[in-house]
């Protein structure tokens, strides 16, 4: 009976997995691609509904005999992942049809990948973290290579695979050493271990290095720009939002549960990495002419901002990171969605910023949406991006990292330059050749509009969701101190 209730707590993941298997079999029976897409959306819709329900009503508890959690951060991570997947699948379908690569296997892959992400985001045991991480990564390696008849596509898949597999080795070694030191793989037990010792520290550092690989923090970022540029645009959106969210939620959980005693000692390390990531990401993004590559470097820069929250190492910092992930999902899926739309109208490598000249006036709605998403990414109020940066930086200041925050703020100001550059081409320059954009599908533009509305909504009233997030970490603590 316990098993049944465990599965009930784990419904979104189960539904996604079942959906993936169903879609896979539909493909086996040569179903039409339309049917496959519809079925995928149906399963994802149901999963999203349950994830939303869990987000608000599920209690924080441990299920599957300590292997996974439900409620709290787990529910939050699940929600972001399923939400991001839901919208990327809508965009992906349209995009892949546009570029004539709409393979039926893509949909089960995305579903399995989402399942892996959920497992990762809900894990409370290093074994689960490992399995979830690998499920996610292996699916992403394959998804990165969808454009397999393009040199760019397969090369990005190969690069991603080699880098990913390499970091998996370090990740495992870290787990192994931690296991040896503490005698368990459970995050709780590891968190209770206080003796230190070289094996323990070796394990912690290897584990964190592997995580830095997965979230693409400098100096472990070198795969990111290439992979993000070579992958299909909407899959890039998927990797950089849902994938990154899952890794980050897992990292926050590991820091919060497994390393509560040492997480404050990691502040210096995280600060250094954050500074490098923010500076390098932003500086290199400035010189990019390819919008997709620019967004890839900007996503590295955003990892830097997120690391400021981790460096703070406080409840406020971790909560800010979670809010940031939510906001980042809205705006980045949206931005990549519009980029994919522009790209789809031309050819697969239509991404240079010059080719955007004057596009803002054709299909003005898309131009406005891209502007909203880019302003939000740049952290201009009133957008979710601003609030996210505000929370992260204010957590940093509260933790006394004023210098780090000033670097972050300046980096963020620099980032405005390259986001604005896109808008300069969109609106301020005349297009050289006559480009006609086709009308986007209703569902495509509706989902983008919805994401933009959410971006603005969480820019204006973040109170509700911040309250929810703060509740995940603190029993008592800050909640009582509030007026």
């Amino acid at each position: 009976m316990e098993l049944v209730s465990d599965f009930l707590q784990y419904l979104p993941a189960s539904i996604v997995a079942a959906g993936g298997l169903t879609v896979m079999m539909l493909d086996g029976y040569k179903a039409r691609s339309r049917t496959i897409y519809t079925t995928t959306m149906m399963f994802l819709g149901v999963a999203l509904a349950f994830a939303t329900y869990d987000l608000f009503y599920a209690e924080d508890q441990i299920i599957f005999s300590g292997m996974a959690g439900a409620g709290g951060t787990a529910a939050f991570g699940t929600f972001i992942v399923v939400f991001g997947t839901f919208f990327t699948v809508i965009l992906t379908h349209d995009y892949l049809v546009g570029v004539k690569h709409n393979f039926p296997q893509v949909y089960p892959m995305i579903m399995f990948c989402t399942f892996g992400m959920i497992v990762l985001a809900t894990a409370t045991d290093l074994v689960t973290v490992f399995v979830g991480l690998e499920t996610m990564s292996i699916c992403l390696y394959a998804l990165a290579g969808i454009l397999k008849d393009k040199r760019l596509g397969v090369e990005s898949a190969l690069k991603y695979f080699i880098m990913g597999a390499f970091s998996t080795g370090f990740f495992l070694y870290g787990i192994s050493l931690l296991y040896g030191a503490t005698g368990s793989t459970s995050l709780e037990v590891i968190g209770a271990y206080t003796d230190g010792g070289l094996i323990y520290w070796g394990g912690v550092s290897l584990l964190l290095v592997a995580f830095m690989f997965k979230i693409s923090a400098v100096p472990f970022h070198m795969w990111t720009p290439d992979v993000y540029t070579g992958s299909p645009t909407t899959i890039t959106a998927y990797m950089s939002t849902a994938g990154k969210t899952a890794s980050f939620v897992a990292l926050v959980l590991v820091l919060d549960r497994a390393l509560p005693n040492v997480s404050s000692e990691l502040t210096t390390m995280f600060s250094v990495i954050a500074v490098m990531t923010m500076v390098l990401g932003n500086v290199v993004a400035m010189v990019q002419d390819n919008v997709k590559r620019m967004l890839a470097y900007s996503s590295i820069a955003h990892v830097g901002y997120l690391l400021v929250g981790l460096a703070a190492g406080t409840v406020a910092g971790y909560s800010a990171v979670l809010f940031y992930l939510l906001a980042y999902t809205f705006m980045n899926v949206g931005a990549f969605g519009v980029v994919a739309y522009y790209e789809k109208n031309h050819d697969v490598h239509f991404n240079s910023v010059e080719s955007y000249a004057g596009l803002g006036y054709q299909k003005p709605i898309m131009g406005v949406l891209l502007s909203i998403f880019l302003f939000s990414l740049a952290g201009i109020p009133i957008s979710a991006g601003f609030n996210a940066k505000y929370l992260v930086f204010s957590a940093g200041i509260e933790a006394g990292l004023v210098g780090l925050v000033i670097v972050g703020v300046l980096a963020s100001a620099a980032s405005a330059y390259y986001y604005l550059r896109v808008m300069v081409y969109l609106y301020f320059r005349e297009g050289k050749e006559n480009v006609t954009l086709m009308t986007p599908k209703k569902v495509y533009s509706f989902s983008l509009v919805f994401l933009a509305v959410l971006t603005l909504y969480f820019g204006v009233v973040p109170a509700g969701v911040t309250e929810l997030i703060f509740g995940f970490f603190s029993e008592g603590g800050i909640v009582e101190a509030l007026p």
């Binding site: 074994v127 490992f130 399995v131 690998e134 292996i138 390696y141 394959a142 290579g145 397999k148 008849d149 393009k150 040199r151 760019l152 397969v154 090369e155 990005s156 898949a157 190969l158 690069k159 695979f161 080699i162 597999a165 390499f166 998996t168 080795g169 495992l172 070694y173 787990i175 192994s176 050493l177 296991y179 040896g180 005698g183 368990s184 793989t185 720009p225 290439d226 540029t229 070579g230 290199v284 990019q288 590559r293």
Partner: protein
């Protein structure tokens, strides 16, 4: 009686050989094999820990690592085949289309 340190030492040595291989070899397939080497090196230390602590969890993790290794090999080899289809070599030092 062979102590735990011996196993850990061998494991570390094998892991480093694997890392070295990944970094210096150019053929994609050999690089994959070196990754497999890294994984199996970790497996040794996991099993050693598990056995010396009398705790089964480490061995179960090894079981999962085996599965993951199999899955990685499956996808990795598919990627190599896709690369060959495009008439590109598997020499990863020549995969330089993407640069910053």
């Amino acid at each position: 009686m062979v102590g735990l340190e011996w196993y850990l030492g061998v494991s570390a040595m094998l892991f480093v050989i694997g890392v070295l291989g990944v970094l210096i070899r150019k053929n994609a397939i050999v690089v994959f094999m070196c990754v497999e080497l890294m994984l199996s090196a970790v497996n040794i230390s996991l099993v050693a820990f598990s056995s010396f602590m009398g705790d089964v969890h480490g061995m179960i993790l090894v079981f999962f690592v085996l599965c993951v290794a199999a899955a990685e090999a499956c996808v990795g080899l598919a990627i190599v085949i896709a690369i060959y289809r495009n008439n590109i070599t598997a020499d990863i030092s020549k995969i330089n289309l993407l640069r910053w």
